[in-house]
């Protein structure tokens, strides 16, 4: 794997967990300031001159939920086009200006936010922020540029159209969220992208890119006064208020269900999941901890041990809690050869059921808490990672001193809390999407309860999950 993966392996999975840094006040993560510019732009900020860089991460509320219902992918097209000509610069000049000073500017449309990222060497900050200002306030959307990017978006969608993992994940969201905006493809579809016109793009920018929902985090070698001036210059002239379409809260998934998508691939790909726990709920931390135990990273989650280590069924098996503004899910992925696909799904279901019924052991809970307390520091090591974490805390509506509170919140999760959370998360069975050539799975009808997914009644505690001796953790 390339380094991009290494990075993920090393640093991934840790946006929530926070280090116990109270005892180490010298580290950057403990010097977070709330900076408010003269123009009223607020940012969470860490001044750090170790490396001559500045990293900024920011988000506007809305994201892909603000795409028109019949045109998913508008936000994504906007994200791909803001740096294709803006202000008095055509796209070539705009890129020339970025490249000449190695300024890294990018935008992303996520389901709940339109996000941006800006990195620069500190000496190039005026140019970098000025280019960002142009991109946000006066993007061109010239027809040739729109067509050029549209072609690239479509090429990518065509590639994805036979990628089993992409198909499984899309179908999972579609079934889990039905007619809610979360069911739509943030990147658009081969049907929707050709329909998007310049007016859609301009309308999206007008409605979404505004000051009232903006959250900003900055880490790097810049003083607060200079930063405040740059923030005012960059964001100050944006409209005061966004005009967002209301998005309803939604409870994901009516599990158990199994959906099968036929595709002629040697490895059957499986996405499974169900309703999760939202960030604001009291059960959240317990749910976060039990997800780490069942399917978290590292090399010793229950699913990893049972599916991969003991049975050699899969290379990758992983499950995690994902929370959004209006819902939450847990979701996992694995892949296995076609003739063992049913066995693999059954094993996943068995482990999920067992966790729902018995909860984790004291030792597992203890290990997971220890991991979650320790891992946070690892997520805060680069300027960009720290900035991303500080943005996420704001989006999650956490206090600015959350870093110091995190360990206590993790520690407060009791075995009883963990059991309750496990029961809540996994007591309903799974929504499972399989993509592959499994003949057995092929006999299952779409979106109906499957033989290997017991109906809800069978998944209640009391039905012995299996005769297998429970693995003794550690």
């Amino acid at each position: 794997m390339t380094y991009s993966f290494t990075r993920r392996a090393v640093l991934g999975g840790a946006s929530l967990a926070i280090a116990t840094l109270g005892s180490a006040p010298l580290f950057a993560a403990t010097r977070i300031q709330r900076l408010v510019s003269p123009g009223g732009i607020e940012a969470w900020f860490v001044q750090d001159a170790t490396v001559p860089l500045i990293a900024m991460e920011y988000a506007f509320a809305g994201g892909a939920t603000q795409d028109p219902t019949d045109k998913p992918g508008v936000g994504h097209m906007v994200a791909s086009l803001l740096d294709e000509g803006a202000g008095d610069l055509d796209f070539e000049t705009f890129h020339e200006r970025l490249d000449r000073r190695a300024i890294k500017l990018s935008f992303t449309s996520r389901h709940d936010q339109f996000r941006g990222s800006l990195r620069m060497l500190k000496d190039n900050k005026d140019e970098a922020f000025d280019l960002l200002r142009m991109a946000l306030t006066s993007p061109h959307f010239d027809a040739p540029d729109v067509e050029r990017i549209r072609a690239a978006v479509l090429a990518n969608l065509r590639r994805d159209s036979t990628n089993p993992s992409t198909l499984a994940n899309r179908k999972f969201l579609e079934v889990a969220f039905d007619d809610h905006p979360y069911a739509r493809q943030a990147g658009g579809t081969v049907e929707s992208v050709p329909k998007i016109d310049v007016a859609d793009l301009k309308d999206y920018v007008r409605r979404v890119i505004a000051k009232d929902t903006l959250k900003i985090a900055v880490v790097g070698d810049v003083d607060p006064e200079t930063l405040a001036r740059l923030l005012d210059k960059t964001f100050g002239s944006l409209p005061a208020k966004a005009e967002l379409t209301q998005v309803a809260d939604v409870i994901a998934v009516k599990a158990p269900q199994c959906v099968f998508i036929p595709l002629d691939v040697p490895q059957t790909v499986v996405t499974f999941g169900g309703a999760g726990v939202r960030r604001s709920e009291p059960d959240f931390m317990a749910a976060y901890v039990v997800n780490q135990i069942l399917g978290g990273g590292g090399l010793s989650s229950r699913l990893f041990r049972e599916v991969r280590e003991k049975r050699g069924l899969a290379y990758s098996v992983h499950e995690t809690l994902l929370w959004m503004d209006h819902s939450a899910v847990f979701v996992g992925n694995t892949g296995t050869r076609a003739d063992r696909a049913s066995e693999t799904v059954e094993e996943v279901e068995k482990q999920v059921r067992r966790m729902a019924e018995e909860g984790p052991t004291e030792q597992e809970l203890d290990n997971a808490k220890s991991y979650l307390k320790g891992s946070q520091m690892l997520a805060l090591d680069t300027s960009s990672n720290l900035a991303r974490a500080l943005l996420q805390y704001q989006l999650d509506k956490l206090p600015i001193d959350y870093i110091e509170k995190h360990s206590a919140l993790v520690d407060a999760v009791t075995l009883e809390d963990a059991r309750k959370a496990a029961q809540r998360l996994w007591g309903q069975g799974l929504l499972t999407v399989m993509v592959g050539r499994s003949p057995l799975a092929a006999t299952r009808s779409t979106t109906t309860p499957s033989p290997t997914t017991p109906p809800p009644a069978a998944a209640q505690p009391g039905d012995a999950p299996s005769a297998a001796t429970p693995a003794t953790p550690n």
């Binding site: 992303t108 990518n156 040697p266 490895q267 990758s316």
Partner: protein, 485 residues
């Protein structure tokens, strides 16, 4: 390269944090997306990986009596340390008939020792909030842990223990082989683009083992067993075939006694030669073409690979010139390829070029393009050949050269922000024949590249006889007339 754990779930794959909704969407359209960079079967897709810090201090480096080389890269911003051990053995060192063994063995290094039973190492890392993984490339195998700094001694003890103390049982080995076969299914069999890459590589290297896939050929992989693994272990895993890199919040002075204590008593393996010698390529004589058709290909891809020198095999100045050439030709919207193929002639949707300098033996220079619907490969190919001819005949414009060099050098500064990246850069470089000074002086060598050197690199190395041109097409379209003679 391949890794022990592809833990990142595919739904969560796109996430930079686990908090965002599944399947967020971010694609970089200004460069060619025909291949997922993480699936390229070669060490460096991105030039950033060949960069190194410009202004930071020289890392401390020393060698134990048993031959273990140690490099220490201080970074005191966070109380974290990264330990990476790099073995100078990779897929290209697999014996004929045993392809995939280096990578398979990497998985088996997690199976426990007499002192530390299976799972203990992983649990120890997790208990402290750490991360660990491993990487196998053509030239090296690397294992790393990232932990709070006070855990370093414990990590070092565990890593030293498994250098020679591994215990392999048939049941472990065989079930792990199933895991690796699933890794093969996931990364290769399910992925036409990756298979395409493998076929091009196999056609490019007529004699050198770089022609074999990193994960191995399936029919060989499925026969590997415990005896193969143990023989491989005895032959290659020894202190005189390893480099230990410690990056993070440490004092270099404390590291030496810790390393002596943990690794000092492990004997060197005298049979390991000081320099790896592999079968080399003959002088290339004929351009080759590869057409891979697969029913799952919904978007055709054009690609070409040239056999070119690596940093280790190139004459002075040649490798940085190739770095600059790749960037001038294929880096971003201001590159020659993008301007000509995407903007002016509107033949392609995206274009790219890359050079993989960090390699023990001769490497590849790759060019790729995604044709617009209805455009034939022959049109793409003619246009690309004209761009190459232009670069071989005329010096690059000064402003292009300056922009590209600035970007490449800036990456070295960005790399300073990331201790793991620094550790990887040193590990890659040192296991592929470079010295600490070579790695440190990379930005200066980029700065020194002249327009004439770039022209010469294009002229000298981008010779069709040295190349394989590949066409990835949908199977249902027989005779994709695009195939070019």
């Amino acid at each position: 390269m391949t890794t022990k754990v592809l833990g990142a779930a595919t739904v969560a794959m796109a996430l930079t944090t686990p908090t965002a909704l599944a399947v967020e969407y971010k694609v970089e359209y200004k460069k060619d997306n025909s291949s997922n960079p993480s699936l390229w079967d070669v060490p460096e897709k991105r030039n950033v990986l060949t960069q190194i810090t410009v202004t930071s201090e020289r890392p401390a480096s020393f060698t134990l009596a048993n031959g273990l080389q140690v490099v220490v890269i201080p970074d005191h911003r966070t109380p974290i340390v990264t330990q990476m051990i790099w073995y100078k053995v990779g897929s290209a060192d697999d014996a004929p008939g045993k392809s995939g063994l280096a990578h398979f063995f990497e998985h088996l290094m997690f199976k426990g020792t007499a002192k530390h039973p299976p799972g203990e190492f992983s649990r120890t890392v997790l208990r402290v909030g750490g991360k660990q993984n491993a990487i196998t490339s053509m030239d090296y195998t690397s294992y790393f842990q990232r932990v709070p700094r006070e855990q370093l001694a414990r990590m070092m003890e565990l890593e030293a223990d498994r250098m020679t103390g591994l215990i392999l049982k048939d049941e472990n080995v065989l079930s792990e082989r199933d895991v690796v076969l699933e890794e093969f299914n996931k990364s290769v069999a399910n992925n036409p683009d990756r298979r395409f890459t493998e076929q091009i590589r196999a056609a490019l290297y007529l004699n050198h083992p770089y022609g074999r896939p990193n994960l191995g050929w399936r029919q060989e992989l499925e026969k590997l067993d415990r005896e193969d693994a143990l023989a491989f272990y005895k032959r290659f895993y020894a202190p005189n075939n390893a480099i230990l890199i410690i990056a993070g919040d440490v004092d270099p002075k404390e590291i030496r006694p810790m390393v002596e204590k943990n690794f000092g008593d492990i004997p060197a393996q005298p049979a390991i030669p000081a320099k790896r010698v592999r079968p080399q390529e003959p002088t290339p004589a004929a351009p080759r073409t590869v057409t891979l058709s697969d029913p799952r290909v919904e978007q055709p891809t054009w690609r070409r690979s040239y056999l070119v020198p690596s940093s280790s095999t190139a004459a002075a100045g040649e490798s940085p010139a190739l770095d600059v050439l790749a960037q001038v030709m294929g880096g971003g919207t201001n590159s020659y390829l993008y301007r000509v193929l995407v903007i002016d002639k509107q033949l392609a949707i995206s274009t790219g070029a890359s050079y993989h300098g960090t390699s023990l033996d001769p490497s590849q220079f790759m060019i790729s393009a995604t044709p617009k619907p209805g455009v034939h490969f022959v049109e793409i190919e003619d246009a690309i050949d004209k761009v190459i001819a232009d670069l071989a005949q005329n010096p690059a414009r000064a402003e292009d050269l300056e922009r590209v060099k600035t970007q490449l050098i800036a990456q070295a500064i960005y790399a300073q922000d990331d201790q793991v990246m620094l550790a990887v850069l040193y590990g890659r470089g040192l296991t592929t024949g470079l010295s600490v000074d070579d790695i440190r002086s990379w930005p200066d060598s980029i700065r020194a590249v002249t327009a004439e050197q770039v022209r010469k690199a294009a002229q000298g190395w981008l010779d069709k006889k040295r190349s394989v041109t590949g066409y990835l097409i949908k199977e249902s379209a027989p005779k994709c007339e695009e195939k070019r003679s």
